[in-house]
């Protein structure tokens, strides 16, 4: 596929996603939907026209009883989080990594990602999804918490970089906003203990990183949390402040199984650029935060060389990645 790159998509003409007819027509004409334009070096396949999605009428809405937040794709995560907090809900750790990005843009950029603990993956938080395909047809996935009605067709749009059409809106799983949190910092060498402890407490805990260490977040106020905290303290965890926000939105994110975490840091030429972004039952997501274009290229090369483990692969990227296309399914829509 021929591609034009280094196009500042913030110059793209706006397209109102509340005007379904316009979106459908644009899709048929070769729409490449873009969000906030935070990706300054986006790959634009030839024949596609970048259009910046906006919402003139729809707004973020919350359903506190069902812990869900409904948002137009053009809303930023920060806007959705603000509305959620107003109803006593939170979207959790996603917002830290993507606050100024649009929800649709994040979903379009991020593809394969193993499960992370609740509310840490954008894709994992999506319930209902409304989209327009590149042939101008509307697709709506119901917002049931789980279904078995065939394959999860929402995945067609995740990570498709706009090539499958345009995401119009989504509903997202939220959680009650935590008011009692305990942060514990623990050396990365104790990763196995952290993984085991958190696997026993997945719904009330999460893990991030700070300077290469793991930082565990526990929702306190329960006996189970006390047991988890005791286990971590026994492994030399110490209380700490909440991790600082990321210096910038991560340009490269890779995942690695817990048992390869040390290998990933060992392989990095500059481990200080690596940060544990989130963790899940089997994998850890690592953000790489290079500050220059050369650094980004270097990070890409490192990530590709460091992910020889078949279960440690790309999950998301700000840098266009020609991921290995392993099946015709990947290009079909």
């Amino acid at each position: 596929m021929t591609a034009r790159s280094d196009i500042d998509v913030r110059d793209a003409a706006p397209l109102d996603l509340d005007s379904a007819g316009d979106v459908a027509a644009a899709a048929r004409a070769g729409l490449l939907p873009v969000g906030a334009g935070r990706e300054l070096a986006i790959r634009v396949p030839s024949g596609l026209v970048p259009r910046r999605l906006i919402a003139s009428r729809s707004a973020v809405q919350c359903a506190p009883r069902s812990c869900t937040v409904h948002a137009p794709a053009s809303a930023t995560w920060a806007e959705a989080e603000a509305a959620a907090l107003g109803e006593g809900l939170t979207l959790g750790g996603i917002v830290d990594a993507c606050a100024d990005a649009t929800i649709g843009g994040t979903l379009g950029r991020r593809a394969w990602l193993p499960a992370l603990w609740p509310c840490h993956t954008a894709r994992g938080a999506v319930l209902a999804l409304e989209a327009v395909t590149r042939t101008g047809r509307r697709y709506v996935a119901s917002g049931a918490p789980r279904t078995s009605s065939g394959p999860d067709l929402r995945a067609v749009f995740f990570g498709a970089e706009g090539r499958a059409g345009a995401i119009l809106s989504v509903s997202l799983q939220a959680a009650p906003a935590d008011d009692e949190l305990l942060w514990l910092r623990i050396d990365r060498s104790k990763a196995a203990t952290v993984q085991r402890t958190l696997n026993r407490h997945g719904a009330i805990a999460a893990a991030r990183g700070e300077g290469g260490d793991l930082v565990v977040r526990l929702r306190t106020g329960s006996r189970a949390a006390d047991v988890a905290a005791s286990a971590l303290v026994a492994a030399s965890a110490r209380e700490t402040a909440a991790p600082a926000p990321l210096r910038s939105r991560p340009r490269v994110v890779v995942t690695t199984p817990w048992d390869r975490l040390s290998d990933a840091f060992a392989a990095a030429s500059d481990p200080s650029l690596l940060r544990i972004l989130a963790a899940g039952p089997t994998h850890v997501a690592l953000a790489i935060e290079p500050t220059t274009a050369a650094g980004r290229r270097g990070a890409t090369a490192w990530a590709q060389s460091a992910t020889t483990d078949p279960l440690a692969r790309w999950c998301a990227a700000g840098i266009p990645v020609d991921a290995p296309e392993t099946s015709p399914l990947a290009e079909a829509p």
Partner: protein
């Protein structure tokens, strides 16, 4: 179909691997056996004496992944339909070979790699029977945490192909939460791993019901085996207070292993046994018989009484409006069963204290939960006596968010209740919503009328689910039965599926006639 050619192909594969060849069985018995799964509609047809409508031309028992690769290539070269088959326990007709061809039995694909279990990962072949796989993992101190009621006769590949759920999903999640990545054989006969860059192919293969390729194995998330169990039953006046309790529990971050709420009549029908009373307590069937027709087990006329009771039961089920109305007046208490499972005792006590302390309902103690654990796989085997008595029984599992749950329950119960006797329980609860599992039984004058009533019941039920804006299936899959209702969950999904199918299976060999691929309506 040129079976000799297929046999030669498989013998060549076996010779290369220096092992026995995959077995091909084209006998009438095998073809009849693989012509249906456990979909009650086809069972009713068989009861009516109809011959198998959808026999495959042959059954191939693959002994290794290379057999699967060669069978796919062979089928593709000859445009022969290919239907992957696991345990055949599906209840919607997903594995029914509606176009003939090869039924590819995968149960011998049972390799297992737990070398990375310390990091929560295990590889398993698609052919593992659920109970055997769980047993093997348990021996290693692990669990998959996937316990469908069909666990004794269903396979991992089947779970993946239909997006299955286990009974402890509130703790462990559904199969899509447990699979990290999988390997399938594509149309070209290539092994494809779905973990990696680009699209999330795992999400597209899981639930595809064999229409995109043949799943041969998966990396699964495994956990420490929980050996300490605490359980408690609660009594709720109506379902609403207990549903509120379930919702609040999950939204506070708790993950009880068991969270099951039985509605009034489901509680009544088998409440005594669930409450842990003596095993002599009446069964589901006998309770219904007693309720409708009085005592039936007088020794002097046992067989006659049973026949009479079945006739009475049948006649009562034939008047579902009256029966359902009567049931609503019998009992107004609902049983909630809550269970906790953890790897160590201290944690189990802590979690139990948190969970049980958060439920503000009258406690019945541990007996209901213990009884449920002891009998949790029994329910599927209780249908046969009713089928043999001329009735039909089936289940409908739907899901929606908490805001819509009460509406969905009322609407579907009303819709089904016009045709059949219906009860329900709520299980598989999540932060944002819950599933409802309706169990219904019906009767008609003869088999033909039974089949017609069965269809009418499902039509009414699925229409009510769609009208309520809920998911038409939570974990039984689509199969033949629900193909026509797919758009309720995926409005416009056909337009997305068609190019995917065309790209993945340009020759249309993989389980043709399923999902949006020219859906086969009720045969």
């Amino acid at each position: 179909m040129d079976i000799d050619s297929l046999a030669q192909t498989l013998e060549a594969v076996a010779a290369r691997g220096q092992r026995a060849a995959a077995r091909i069985d084209a006998s009438a018995g095998a073809r009849a056996l693989y012509s249906r799964d456990c979909w009650p509609y086809l069972t009713l047809q068989a009861r009516a004496g109809e011959s198998a409508r959808f026999p495959p031309d042959a059954v191939v028992h693959a002994t290794g992944v290379d057999d699967v690769v060669e069978v796919v290539r062979w089928c593709r070269a000859r445009r022969v339909p290919l239907v992957p088959v696991g345990g055949g326990s599906g209840v919607a007709g997903a594995a029914v070979p509606t176009s003939g061809g090869v039924a590819l039995d995968l149960k011998l694909l049972d390799d297992l790699d737990t070398s990375r279990a310390t990091t929560g990962l295990a590889w398993a072949g698609a052919g593992w029977i659920g109970a055997r796989l769980e047993h093997e993992l348990n021996r290693r101190g692990l669990t998959l945490g996937h316990f469908p009621s069909s666990i004794g006769c269903s396979t991992l590949g089947g779970y993946l192909a239909t997006r299955s759920a286990g009974q402890l999903s509130s703790r462990h999640g559904k199969i899509e939460d447990l699979v990290v990545g999988l390997t399938y054989v594509s149309n070209e006969g290539r092994l494809v791993e779905t973990f990696g860059g680009g699209h999330d192919l795992t999400a597209l293969l899981v639930g595809s019901e064999g229409t995109f390729g043949v799943i041969v194995g998966a990396w699964l998330r495994v956990e420490e085996r929980p050996v300490h169990r605490r359980s408690r039953g609660y009594l709720s006046h109506g379902v609403a207070p207990a549903l509120d309790g379930m919702r609040e529990l999950l939204q506070r971050g708790h993950r009880p292993a068991v969270l099951r709420l039985y509605d009034e009549f489901d509680t009544y029908i088998s409440g005594a046994r669930k409450a842990g009373r003596p095993a002599s307590a009446p069964t589901l069937v006998s309770r219904v018989r007693q309720h409708i027709g009085g005592a039936v087990d007088a020794a002097a006329a046992r067989h006659a009484a049973i026949r009479a009771a079945n006739a009475l039961l049948g006649r009562s089920l034939g008047a579902p409006l009256a029966l359902n109305a009567g049931a609503r007046r019998i009992y107004d208490d609902c049983l909630l069963v809550v269970g906790v499972e953890e790897p160590d005792a201290e944690l189990a006590d802590a979690v139990a204290a948190d969970v049980f302390g958060a439920i503000a309902l009258p406690s019945l103690g541990p007996a209901p939960g213990e009884h449920w654990y002891a009998h949790r796989y029994n329910v599927s085997y209780k249908m046969s006596p009713l089928l043999a008595a001329g009735m039909f029984v089936d289940t409908m599992e739907v899901a929606t968010d908490w805001d819509n749950l009460a509406n969905l329950y009322a609407e579907v119960k009303e819709a089904l209740g016009r045709h059949v006797f219906v009860m329900a329980h709520f299980s598989h609860a999540y932060v944002t919503g819950c599933s409802i599992y309706f169990t219904f039984a019906g009767f008609a004058a003869d088999d033909s009328a039974c089949l017609a009533k069965y269809r009418a019941t499902w039509d009414a039920g699925l229409q009510a689910v769609a009208a309520a804006g809920a998911a038409v299936t939570h974990h039984h899959g689509v199969g033949i039965m629900k193909a026509g209702a797919l758009d309720a969950d995926h409005r416009g999904g056909g337009a997305l599926f068609a190019p995917l199918k065309a790209a993945a299976d340009p020759d249309g060999i993989f389980n043709p006639g399923k999902l949006w691929d020219t859906p086969t309506v009720f045969p």
